[in-house]
Symmetry: C2
Subunit: 423 residues, 2 copies
């Protein structure tokens, strides 16, 4: 038995026509000889419709009752999808999270998967049935309906793939896979055949959101081979691998950018312990996420402290900092919201030197001034003037030769046989 | 612990405003000191929306998958309703049929209730929680979601009331209760304080459909005191009692009428064995329901055979009979679709003589010709010209003094304490 788990999001099952198309896609996988488990989200718009109904009744609806209402969205999808498969003369059976069961903890609205029952699924698969599972939902130990939070269907799919020791967990999306960069900026952008989970996380969080971060962490932890691919185009997509299994790495995997940031610089802050805490505590209290932070020690016991926040939080952040200036003994706060972040991502940069040099030289050659620099193990990010973002991304994409590579595919892990799988 | 089960149909929870109104109704019962179990149907229109979606995917959708989709309707209602109760500062918890559990057989789309778990409900009630249960749905012994068929929420409510030994099962409707007759015809029509289950069945099937017949049979069998009352008006409604518990019966309980029938008369059929079978077998094969049948033996070995069908089946029935005429050795078939049926209903007529005489005299005094007569133990029905139906109903309502009576209330049965109740 070689199992493939295929997950389709709300936009892929948003209409009856789309459900029919997805059913045909699944039947192709079945025809290739695989045993198929399908995970579906609610039809596009349905979750919002239910939330709106709830808010009309109660501005602060109970998480328990919200889960009760929300979980119906996937239940409708899986029933309709199974009907579509049956119409084509194949056997399909839908199951809710409670029926499988997908066991979770008690945290309504953001429950964590604890274990997955595989007995029912394996029995149905062995008789040729396509098993259709409601994503996003589970059941707590006391029989309550829970949901896994936004993007939870990805987690359901990955958890099922891990529990069933699936050959692959396929996450169908509205993109062809993980791209080297945004194809709207660089027409030569290429779909990566393979990335590591870490690279994927960096590429996702820096812009092109493809896969829910929690699902990614889950896949990484349990070494589930996840493939991101298109619901619409017949392309192989991108395989997300654990780092260890990756072959010789290219230096750079992709380029992400983000034009939704703003920066603030506190001028001539006194350079003494506790200053960073004084600045960032009230920012955090206001639920403002800080992305990059840079502090340069000056020569005269004073320093400039620069950080970036989401552009929508720019005014609020400015106001908070301004009220702190006196306490900080700082001269002034200045800022800009016409900035952009460009990030080079790739686990290969660990073992390759000269990446930063090539990046800075490339940008300099285009006359692009770098305002801030931040580095992590697998990423180098720079802040530049927003108007240069496209030029910067294009020139870096070319400089690192991202349009030409071919990467090897990962082999699947050996088979296990378990009646239930605990995480 | 004195439990009251209150059931609200789809039109009573069709909008957020209506849900709020129903929540207030339930909180009033709670304030009266009762422990309340609420049973809800899907919001009005929701079931049809889901069926339409299903039919778009698959013209003949699987009953199993239809149940999977349909059961979401009630799940949304119970969640929204609980949110409304919570907003008012009271505790409510919603439960699906699977969670209670409402155990049924495997017949998808028309499952029969086998047992009801009471443990979870009793525990929640004892801590002051209003328990909100999804109507219409259950779970089979192999964990499949089932539905009970149209009007199944009434059955859910009655089954819960029986299992919990509730003081009363209140079925809220868009009428004030069971009326002596249609108030659009007779403005003096009165809401009955009490009727027997049998009378209710006769009054329902002859026109004013108030309560699902299967739920009625269930209530009758398990001696559940059922009260039919209005979602909109603050009136006591009608208590449906088992016959044994009824006090001194009035002669007549109510008058039903039906203007949706047509009659056919086969003239001069040969009076020999097997004729009725020859006529009614092909009628039944065409899924046509026959209501009244009258056959008079003639003097010359020939007879006239008259029967009534639903008016929408009149042409089809005519065609079927015409094709049989030769085989029957009959002379002709004639018919009329401008007829109406008027029925006197009341268990009291068993012990009172002269009911039929009063009925026929009353109609004769108004110049109304009786075309057919049919009697059962608790009902006398006559077929008259449709144009006389209102006059007939009005004159009978007055003749039997239906505008004035007062009836006693039934006391509730003694309490039982069971963790689970089997039917």
């Amino acid at each position: 038995m070689t199992i493939v788990v295929e997950k389709f999001g709300g936009s892929s099952v948003g209409t009856v026509e789309k459900i029919n198309r997805v059913a045909n896609r699944v039947l192709r996988t079945k025809a290739e000889g695989y045993d198929v488990v399908v995970v579906l989200s609610a039809m596009e718009g349905e979750t919002n419709r239910l939330i709106n109904l709830a808010k009309q009744v109660n501005e602060y609806p109970s998480e328990r009752e919200l889960d009760m209402a929300m979980s119906t969205g996937e239940q409708v999808s899986i029933a309709l999808f199974s009907m579509a498969i049956l119409r084509e003369g194949y056997v399909a059976k839908s199951y809710t999270g409670m029926q499988i069961p997908i066991r979770t903890n008690e945290m309504h609205g953001k429950a964590r998967v604890k274990s997955v029952g595989t007995q029912k699924i394996l029995k149905e698969l062995s008789s040729g049935t396509i098993v259709v599972v409601a994503g996003f939902q589970g059941v707590s130990s006391d029989g309550e309906i829970t949901t896994l939070g936004r993007g939870g269907s990805d987690t359901t799919a990955v958890a099922l793939a891990a529990a069933l020791d699936a050959k692959e967990c396929r996450i169908y999306t509205d993109v062809d896979g993980v791209m080297t960069t945004d194809p709207r900026v660089v027409p030569e952008a290429r779909c990566l055949k393979q990335v590591t989970a870490e690279e994927m996380l960096e590429l996702s969080s820096s812009g092109a959101k493809v896969l829910q971060i929690r699902a990614m962490e889950f896949a990484h932890k349990y070494e589930v081979p996840v493939r991101v691919l298109s619901s619409y185009h017949d392309v192989p997509g991108t395989l997300i691998t654990s780092e260890e299994s990756s072959m010789e790495q290219p230096k750079i995997t992709g380029i992400a950018y983000n034009v939704n940031e703003a920066k603030l610089t506190i001028k001539r802050v006194q350079d003494r312990p506790g200053i960073a805490s004084k600045v960032f505590s009230p920012i955090a209290d206001a639920h403002i996420n800080v992305d990059m932070i840079i502090q340069n020690v000056g020569s005269d016991n004073n320093t400039d402290l620069t950080f970036t926040v989401d552009r929508s939080e720019y005014r609020k952040s400015m106001q908070i900092v301004r009220e702190l200036l006196h306490e900080l003994g700082a001269e002034d706060v200045i800022g800009a919201n016409d900035i952009a972040k460009i990030s080079l991502v790739g686990v290969g940069m660990r073992s390759h030197t000269g990446i930063a040099k090539t990046m800075f030289t490339t940008l300099a050659n285009e006359g692009i001034n770098i305002q801030m620099i931040s580095t992590s193990e697998i990423k180098i990010s720079v802040i530049v003037d927003e108007k240069y973002v496209e030029l910067g991304v294009r020139s870096l994409h070319e400089a690192f030769g991202l349009s030409q590579k071919v990467e090897p595919m990962r082999e699947s892990a050996p088979q296990r046989a378990l009646e239930e799988w605990r995480f």
